[in-house]
Subunit: 100 residues, 4 copies
């Protein structure tokens, strides 16, 4: 089951500046063999369900190992069986509508 | 790793009435050995990470098996290492603050 | 436009314990003339769009006034024109499906 | 109060293909004088709270006017008082951490 997932990890108890923790997650997602696409309010990942959700778990594990006491994460994720669609396809579909 | 998770599954391509699909997910979460707590905009589940996230995967699988062509899901989830906290503890903490 | 909204406010830079800030939001939502329904991962509010979203804005304002330097909030919200539906109706619909 | 907001609008009751509705929202956000940044699972908008949240309301209004009977939207939004930060600043902070 292919999944497109938007991940937003918010570490608590480490002050207001959280970019180094987000960078830590980006590295871990790559270490899981996935290609994160960073945007201003999260990161898009896509692939097989177990691999993608496994990467999300690893993000929580490595941040806790790095001393983050609490993490609050928001995820949006989509699956479909009617056709195969990538994250890039989704953006392209909207852009084509805008050009039409 | 204990996780408290808020699950909101939105099936697409099946019309505006989605309560029967939410009910299907409630049953599947119970079949996974977890106790869902339904509220007006989602369901709270808690337990070991793999069991809880496994139940989320099962929800997608059973809805697709039931003919739902596309699913868009929103998840909020939290883990912490400073202390053990249940979903009921979280509500109680806020209620105690309100009474204080 | 009637809206059902799930609000999850996460204050950053104030440590790991955030229940007093959630309680502060509950009070502010009531002060706005709305009835919040607290659950383990957020609060449900419903009513006219401007009133409900106005309450969300007030939550951010009062937390910043109370010294919270940064807030990350997740919202789910729904509107529909096919029929009037309350937050209680949504839960009841799923429960009826479960009983059927 | 400056806000950075991630908007994900999901129209229900209009089938599985929703890109034209997302494109409609992009146009409406621009018509509100804001610059949407589309990504694979939403759109980032930033600016003054009332203007940004006003654009979100307009998205719901125009989709309902276009015949969408039900909309389920997920929003992530952040405000901070410790310093001014744009959406581009957020991405840059993480990229700098990754290069370090």
């Amino acid at each position: 089951m292919h999944v497109i997932l938007d991940l937003c990890v918010v570490p608590l108890g480490v002050g207001v500046s959280i970019s180094k923790y987000i960078a830590r997650c980006e590295k871990e997602i790559k270490a899981c063999g996935l290609e994160p696409h960073l945007h201003a309010y999260g990161t898009t990942i896509e692939g097989e369900w177990d691999k993608v959700l496994g990467a999300v778990k690893r993000c929580h594990e490595v941040l806790h190992e790095d001393g983050v006491p609490r993490i609050s994460t928001t995820i949006k994720l989509g699956t479909r069986t009617d056709r195969h669609q990538t994250a890039a396809d989704k953006v392209r579909s909207v852009e084509q509508e805008l050009e039409a």
